[in-house]
Amino acid sequence: MSLQSSGRKSGRFVLPGERLGVIEEFIPDAGTYVRDGVIHSRVVGRALLDLLNKRVSVYPLVHGAKVPKNGSVVLGQVSNVQTQNATMRIFQIDKKQLSGFFTGILHISDVRLRYVESMFDVCKPGDILRAKVISEKNRTYHLSTKDKNLGVVHAFCLRCGYMLELKRQEMRCPRCGKIEKRKAALDYGEGAM
């Protein structure tokens, strides 16, 4: 580990395509690719040569190119709600803001551990929702909110559009007094908008 962390600072700066070695001398690891037996870098980063385990990898200096993966925690805005499903526009993956968005689907069976009667008691269009990706099959990202940290983090009054307040398991509009239902995350309303 100490070898790795020192390599992050002192390793050779490499660009995509730069030659790192041949497969006869090293095992190619993260951030590399092999072409005709030669190991090349595939990102901008620092080359790490692990002489003990005979591994070569590239520690990336560029944060980017994020797509939702199984297990990633995503933030998005609910765009459509039906009795069984809700769709949402994912605009943040693992704290990284996206320039575009991905579409995710939350099914009623993945909302809570216990039974949920209707999706309309979970979220409403416009809400900001935190969820976890549980499957990327069938060209869609399937989401889950089965955790106390997951769920709606910001919700808006259906009648007047004001931000709802969470008080004793209840969502209440401070302006018009309307009471609504949501599957709220533990830190509801705490994050900056």
């Binding site: 995509p16 690719y33 990102v43 200096l61 575009g100 991905f102």
Partner: protein, 244 residues
Amino acid sequence: MSRKPEKLIDKKGLRLDGRKPDELRPIKIEVGVLPNTDGSAYIQQGKNKILAGVYGPRELHPKHLALPDRTVLRCRYRMAPFSVQERKSPAPSRRDIELSKVIREALEPSVFLEYYPRTGIDIHIEVLQADGGTRCASITAASLALADAGIPMQDLVTACAAGKVDNTIVLDLMDTEDKEGGADVPVALMPNLNAITLLQMDGILSLEEFEKAANLALEGCRKIYPMQKEALKAKYVSVKEVEE
């Protein structure tokens, strides 16, 4: 307006702007100039001033364009109305559309498209000022923008043109030379893999001349590559070491 000069190469063998036949124009490259994009680059090559910005990979719209096994690379090359001496219509011209395709095809082999199935990557190239050889400068900048966006790539792409002016093979043609000269050979190269991703020819050259021009253009690419590397280094080394 520009008059046609009588001689493009003087008695001493120097060109209109005082360059030797195998000399590049001064090049300035900067990476990460547009914070609203995922990756960007700016290049100044002689009087060319070009911005390239990359978005993605992100969900592709319209959705039916998405491919199940790889990402779709889209490229949009445009010239600003004030980029040339007479105002250019801001509507995309046939040339803009063709160059968008040419640039995309020159960059495509360098990107690992299969890493992000069902998504799209958009490259936007804006020519602010044009002075010949914009397609090559655009490719050089767009490739840097892709690397800046953190998209996995086989190699960077570097591009440079060579051509024939007054019966001499010269490197990196500027606008007058391009228009009045005999021929133009733009080449794009992946320098580490030594693979050519673009090779065009406009004009008439003999076989020997073509070979000489192509080799000169490749030499130009190899001179530009270190500048690309320096530009990326300037952004990513010392300034900020990205945390976990």
